[in-house]
């Protein structure tokens, strides 16, 4: 079950608790998503991700299948980076495993062939090994505008959206 969260113009800590009703009984079950919405990635964070939204849109005939990004460690400690979550079977993500203090490392997100003709809005979540195990979720968006063609959108598996 996919839960989609539109951050909109919200700011600060956000929590949503979609309710799932089944034939199990009268008591419903819940899942919960938490986030902290920020207007702009701030230099007080241990890392700066550029760009902070991955736009893999294609405008024109030339195929756009990947987006490069840079992770800058603005803290004073070396940081390990691990992938926490991304949609299954859509992307290949080249993520640096470690970024030394004060240094930058590059990465790349590549859209798998099956999804090149689709428009979507998904996300990738990473986690640092700093004291707070800071997490970042980077939106990944693909829009296609090719003269004379209409892009398709695969049906969402989501049953709830905020």
């Amino acid at each position: 079950m996919e839960i989609i969260f539109s951050t909109g113009r919200r700011q600060g800590k956000q929590s949503k608790r979609p309710r799932i009703e089944t034939n199990e009984g009268e008591l419903a079950k819940y899942v919960q998503i938490k986030s902290e919405v920020v207007a702009n990635p701030d230099s007080t964070f241990p890392v700066r991700i550029s760009p902070y939204k991955f736009d893999v849109s294609q405008f024109g005939d030339k195929e756009v299948a990947e987006r490069k990004f840079v992770i800058e460690n603005v803290s004073d400690q070396d940081l390990d980076i691990k992938l926490v979550d991304m949609p299954y079977g859509m992307f290949k993500l080249e993520l640096p495993k470690k970024v030394k203090a004060g240094k930058s490392e590059g990465g790349k997100i590549v859209i798998l062939d099956e999804w090149l003709k689709e428009e979507f809005e998904k996300s990738v979540t990473i986690e640092l090994n700093d004291a707070n195990n800071t997490r970042f979720t980077i939106p990944v968006k693909r829009t296609i505008r090719v003269p004379g063609q209409t892009a398709s959108t695969k049906p969402e598996s989501a049953t709830g959206s905020h």
């Binding site: 079950m1 996919e2 839960i3 989609i4 969260f5 539109s6 951050t7 909109g8 113009r9 919200r10 700011q11 949503k16 608790r17 979609p18 309710r19 799932i20 009703e21 089944t22 034939n23 199990e24 079950k29 819940y30 899942v31 919960q32 998503i33 938490k34 986030s35 902290e36 919405v37 920020v38 207007a39 702009n40 990635p41 964070f45 902070y52 939204k53 979550d85 949609p87 299954y88 809005e121 998904k122 996300s123 979540t125 986690e127 800071t134 997490r135 970042f136 979720t137 939106p139 968006k141 598996s157 989501a158 049953t159 709830g160 959206s161 905020h162």
Partner: protein
């Protein structure tokens, strides 16, 4: 003999009844909380939760309501 047959039938009845009574759908959500961490404004993010049917009867999702 008649008496034994009766007890056996009764036991069989109880066994079948208990089987029907115990057949229950059950939803198990191994990971029910997900933390996205920091997220930029004006964007859409998503996470997939796994729902497992762990009962003895088919589980039906009747509705999902945004929280």
């Amino acid at each position: 003999m008649k008496h034994t047959k009766g007890i056996l039938l009764l036991m069989l009845g109880i066994f079948l009844w208990s089987g029907v009574a115990l057949a229950q759908p059950k939803l198990t959500i191994p990971e029910s909380i997900f933390d996205f961490g920091y997220v930029p404004q004006n964007s859409k993010i998503s996470h997939a939760f796994w729902l497992h049917s762990t009962g003895t009867e088919d589980l039906k999702i009747l509705s999902v309501k945004p929280g």
